[in-house]
Symmetry: C2
Subunit: 712 residues, 2 copies
């Protein structure tokens, strides 16, 4: 939409003189005076002003938003989108585009779309925080620290594709990843984990731009952080570049960015001093962060900038013209890349076909054939079964990048011939250990970053990577904020979570999950699957791999479990299914995951006592909820008046929907060997059988109890 725009009166170079109000102890006066040293072209200066006023107007229209940071970062934005970034606004999903990650940024929108910021339009393209479903947004950020970890994942994706597919003369993948961070991202643990890991990996294709305005919600950053950030980044293996005047020095920023792109051996950290809310009355002040400026303040800004005080959302022809070369530049990039890929496919037909498969986000057609059709009839831990099922798939399907947070010996995710993803020049005490074409990632003890980086890998392009993480289930509480962001963004990441029961034993209550399943069963758009034996583990992996827009947690046991006669991988796909049917049953026993075997054993004992027990295996509530009402009722048969008892040593929250009673655990676990832990909490077949029998007796005479859920 067109808005009449005044042409600015000044011409040639303009000197910037505003921002004097910043000096109230918060910003050094010299910093502001620096701003006038840099000679901006008339157009550059005008575009900066246009952006800053546009932001002020956007926040003003609904009296909310985060104007300060965006205004401070305007020059960085111009440097990136006008001069440095390789992208194609009309082909936002151009495969080889540079990736940009920002906690609170927008791009590539029409003015009309922009104006939906903070509006009550449910189709707003410009919500309060960036969200991935909108074109041109690489990842959803908002919760702090996630973005920088996502960026590390994006840069790793590039590295892996380059090492796998690029050939001399054919850089079919060559994009750079840019990430803008604020003070907060450098305080959050997940950001710090990712920074350390990126330095270790020597991701020279990653540039982090620090919007160093020294302001957070509580006030000046030195209230809470007085470390030497540049020294810390260097110690973490990063190159560091300083920009003193980030509000105006477009040329300096461009040079620094290009240096970041050209880095040969390290990721680059550009420390850019900016002023939050520059030009406004609250410049340099915490209140500039999260609230619209006062109306008069915006008017004064416009006056200062020689714009008309009462006009809003003004974009002059000069400003439009400034960016007019970008679409065609972008289309040149796209066409050049397409041509190169065609030549590549001609010269390397096999590799070319594989590259195309990856670009199109497909797995090899035969992935499912890799799964054993049967398993040896011997007790097997589902964590071991998980390896039997998945590792052959990972071997043939190079979409999978598989990581672990320092639990390789426990999680069984190593396939035959796996190569580690490592900087090829890394010389460890064990020698050279991998290269960038490797797909097994030692994340270190960094669960949260592992999950957030995996989101970045998945966000590189749909299906090109299917990142897989692994750790003990309990540590997915550390990773939870990133797992959530994956679910929210509909990113397919598969989390292989082992040691998922008090049956893990000696590690004790700190490692025994009690309440964590309740979180993941309640979290939208994620599959939490607890398979009960090897066959169900096959079903769990199939369900997870087929869920293209949903992350999954495959939750397995440390300890061995017997193979059940009637388990079916197809049953897992339905979330729950009848393992053993009995007509005119007295009770349905619901068995879950590592404790499915208990349900089977209790049913046997009940039968011997003359109590007819049917058995339902229930690996995944979310998948079950997606079934028809008819299927659900027929599986549970509660509508026929058959009470159901679920057996799971977790907090029962949520099982009340499917069961009348639970043999469960509502306190923290205990440090005992697995079998002893089960015994200590009453998960012995004899005592469970007695509890169920007694419950059924009580039910007969108690009409109230029939309508209540109880813990046995």
């Amino acid at each position: 939409m067109a808005i009449d725009s005044p042409e600015p009166k000044t011409n040639g170079h303009s000197e910037t003189q505003y921002g004097k109000n910043v000096v109230n102890g918060l910003k050094k006066e010299e910093e502001i005076e620096n701003s006038s040293v840099h000679k901006l072209s008339f157009e550059q200066d005008h575009v900066l002003k246009t952006f800053r006023l546009l932001i002020a107007d956007l926040c003003g229209q609904f009296n909310g938003g985060h104007p300060g940071g965006a205004i401070g970062m305007a020059a960085i934005g111009v440097a990136l989108w006008k001069y440095v970034m390789r992208y194609a606004p009309h082909t936002p999903d151009y495969f080889n585009r540079d990736r940009f990650v920002l906690s609170n940024g927008y791009k590539d929108m029409t003015l009309d779309q922009l104006r939906s910021y903070h509006s009550d339009r449910v189709d707003a393209l410009c919500p309060g925080h960036p969200e991935i479903e909108h074109e041109g947004i690489e990842v959803t950020t908002g919760p702090l620290g996630q973005g920088i970890a996502n960026a590390v994942g994006l840069a790793m994706a590039t590295k892996n594709l380059q090492a796998t597919y690029n050939k001399p003369g054919f850089d079919v993948v060559s994009n750079h990843t840019w990430c803008m961070v604020g003070d907060a991202c450098l305080q959050e643990g997940v950001g710090l984990e990712a920074i350390s890991f990126a330095g270790h990996l020597k991701l020279n294709n990653l540039t982090v731009i620090y919007d160093n305005n020294q302001i957070t919600c509580d006030g000046s950053v030195d209230l809470t952080n007085t470390e030497d950030i540049n020294a810390k980044m260097r110690a973490s293996g990063w190159d560091v570049i300083d920009i003193e005047d980030g509000c105006f020095d477009i040329e300096g920023i461009v040079q620094a960015l290009e240096k970041g792109r050209a880095s040969t051996d390290k990721p680059t950290f550009i420390n850019v001093r900016t002023i939050i809310g520059l030009g406004s009355a609250v410049a340099g002040n915490a209140v500039a962060h999260g609230a619209a400026f006062a109306k008069d303040d915006v008017k004064n800004m416009k006056k200062l900038y020689s714009f008309k005080e009462d006009e809003h959302f003004v974009i002059s022809d000069t400003a439009r013209e400034f960016f007019s070369d970008i679409p065609s530049r972008g289309q040149d990039l796209v066409q050049g890349w397409q041509k190169q890929v065609q030549e590549y496919e001609a010269k390397y037909p096999e590799l070319g076909a594989e590259f195309r498969r990856r670009v199109e986000g497909r797995l090899p057609g035969n992935w499912k054939d890799m799964i054993p059709s049967t398993f040896p009839d011997k007790p097997t831990a589902t964590r071991a079964a998980s390896g039997l099922v998945f590792n052959p798939i990972a071997q043939v399907a190079n979409n999978f990048m598989v990581g672990t947070a320092d639990l390789s010996p426990s999680v069984n995710m190593i396939w035959k011939g796996k190569v580690d993803f490592q900087n090829p020049d890394l010389k460890t005490t064990c020698g050279i250990v991998g290269n960038y074409s490797g797909r097994y990632i030692h994340y270190g003890v960094r669960e949260h970053a592992m999950a957030a980086i995996s989101n970045g890998l998945a966000a590189y392009a749909p299906g090109t990577f299917v990142p897989t993480t692994s750790s003990f289930f309990m540590f997915y509480l550390y990773a939870a904020p990133a797992v959530r962001m994956g679910a929210l963004q509909q990113l397919q990441v598969i989390h292989a979570a082992t040691h998922d029961s008090i049956g893990l034993g000696e590690d004790g209550p700190t490692h025994q999950p009690i309440e964590l399943a309740a979180l993941y069963r309640a979290m939208p758009n994620i599959l939490y699957i607890r398979p009960g034996d090897s066959e169900e583990t096959a079903g769990a992996w199939i369900a997870a791999i087929e869920a293209k827009k949903t992350p999954s947690i495959i939750s397995t046991s440390r300890h061995t479990l017997p193979q059940q006669a009637n388990t079916r991988r197809e049953g897992v796909a339905k979330g729950a299914y009848v393992l053993q049917e009995v007509e005119d049953a007295d009770v349905t026993l619901i068995g879950v995951g590592a404790e499915l075997c208990f349900a089977v054993d209790v049913a046997t004992e009940l039968t011997a006592m003359g109590v007819k027990a049917r058995i339902v295996s229930f690996p995944c509530q979310r998948l079950f909820e997606a079934q028809s009402l008819e299927y659900k009722r027929d599986t549970l048969r509660r509508h026929r008046g058959i009470p159901a008892v679920v057996i799971e040593p977790y907090a029962p929250n949520g099982w009340e929907r499917y069961a009348n009673a639970a043999i469960c655990l509502t306190r923290f676990g205990h440090s005992l060997p697995g079998k002893a832990a089960y015994k200590y909490f009453g998960f012995e077949v004899g005592s469970m059988t007695a509890k169920v029998a007694e419950y059924l007796e009580r039910l007969k005479g108690d009409s109230i109890l029939q309508h209540e859920f109880i813990e046995l």
Copy 2:
């Protein structure tokens, strides 16, 4: 118990020559040869050997455990417990004792207790990971990175007490905090957040000892971490001391530790090179970490050490004698302190009485009087009400240390005259901003460390501090692992969580909690309380403050809520209560927190339609569960055949126990202003009323539906 112990044959100084097997590329040979340079006394050498064999035997008896790290750290242990630490083994809760935090350490146990390690004895005093309920264990660790953050909290506790109570000649609080960390604690985000914050605060009373064995589960640390840790710690504001031979150089370690204690302006980081599993066949190898050594290996170790190969758990008289001075030294410390406190109380009667109150862990008797008995009848956000209730309490009860993760303007936790907890020499851009006697903590954007540090504050001594944290509710997913550890350790920490509903609005789905309440309602030993108006907010704080062994989350709204006529603070104490009774009701509406007002409005509309609706306010499931069956039934009246519908824009998991149907949310939220977000998801009074009425109609003809839980 006494075990026959052979007297070692060697005497005088002994040279150490074992560990040659470490050199398989994993450790520099020089490092091992260093070990022979340090001349240990005969007794020191013998004690080190005794410890190392004891650890090998402990893991051997049940064939499990973590022998390698403990064996590597033996010399550090001797340095601390024999020479440096100020503690009293027979008075383990001596108030002014030095605090020691270790991820996998034990102390002050009889041999019989030690031998319970990894056993199936449910009363084991030596579980797989240290647990707080056992005497002499300061905090439960296990999940990595928590311990160092706890230690920061313990050191802050000391600082605050010193600044508040010490007088010239009366250092009634003078203890130091020691923390042993491994490679993993320096990778975990929560540890990194805590390190940065401790450097900022200049906690010179904190010494972190880095057991630098360069081994984690996956192998050598340089697989995942190649940063310059010393430079990183210096950049973070720490002093750094290197110890090259941490396996044997007891004297060097003692000197470093004493230097740490004497530091005047910074926390100290002692980087101690050790060898995991020293002396065993797997020395320097990852497999030494989490599995018992082979039997023959232990035999060889004993041979090498001149111990008898077939004897186990050998503690000679020499070894016992070595530590024999410690109990009396400890009792001297205790008596000296008690005497000093008596003199202090005589000289400063008022302050002395207050100090005694704090030592005994009591709040001022009048804390409850500070709470307004009534509130103005105007719409008030419960986050604002929270401030009205709590801030006057925090003002009079200096047990409260109140922190926020950079959300001071949003969480309303600032009381009149509050002083910031800061290093008094810190000169920020705003000047001097606080001192160590301050009780308001700007944690920065470090939610996880905030909660873990608060656990440390609470663990200093029972009730001496009641730490309080604050942030948006959604960010308690970042903090969740530490909140869990608080619940597990029965530490009273109160978390003030605001913005707890989709009603928060524009911040969008990343900030709108949907599934998080399900986690905290399932987590053992924590109160998750959602008050519905100001009166209930008073009830929530009272319940939280009175729960001495249970952390709480007080979950409040960003937006204003009407005051309800019949809410009662005493009702909150019962978890749920009848807000509006109706005889022969057709339905019970359950209202929760920010949406209690919806239940009230829907009831009004239903009444107008001729449908009799009673209302239950249900702020806390856990408190309700603790009530009698009679109270529970009478509150819900489901046993009278009255269906219940709960209204809450969260995942309904767990409500199935109390309700037949839910107006709830099972997908992620949306970026819209609060009112629009409610509307978008159907939380409008008109449409909710229609849903309930329609549901009641359907119920009449559907006998199956009566037994099922559905989402409306």
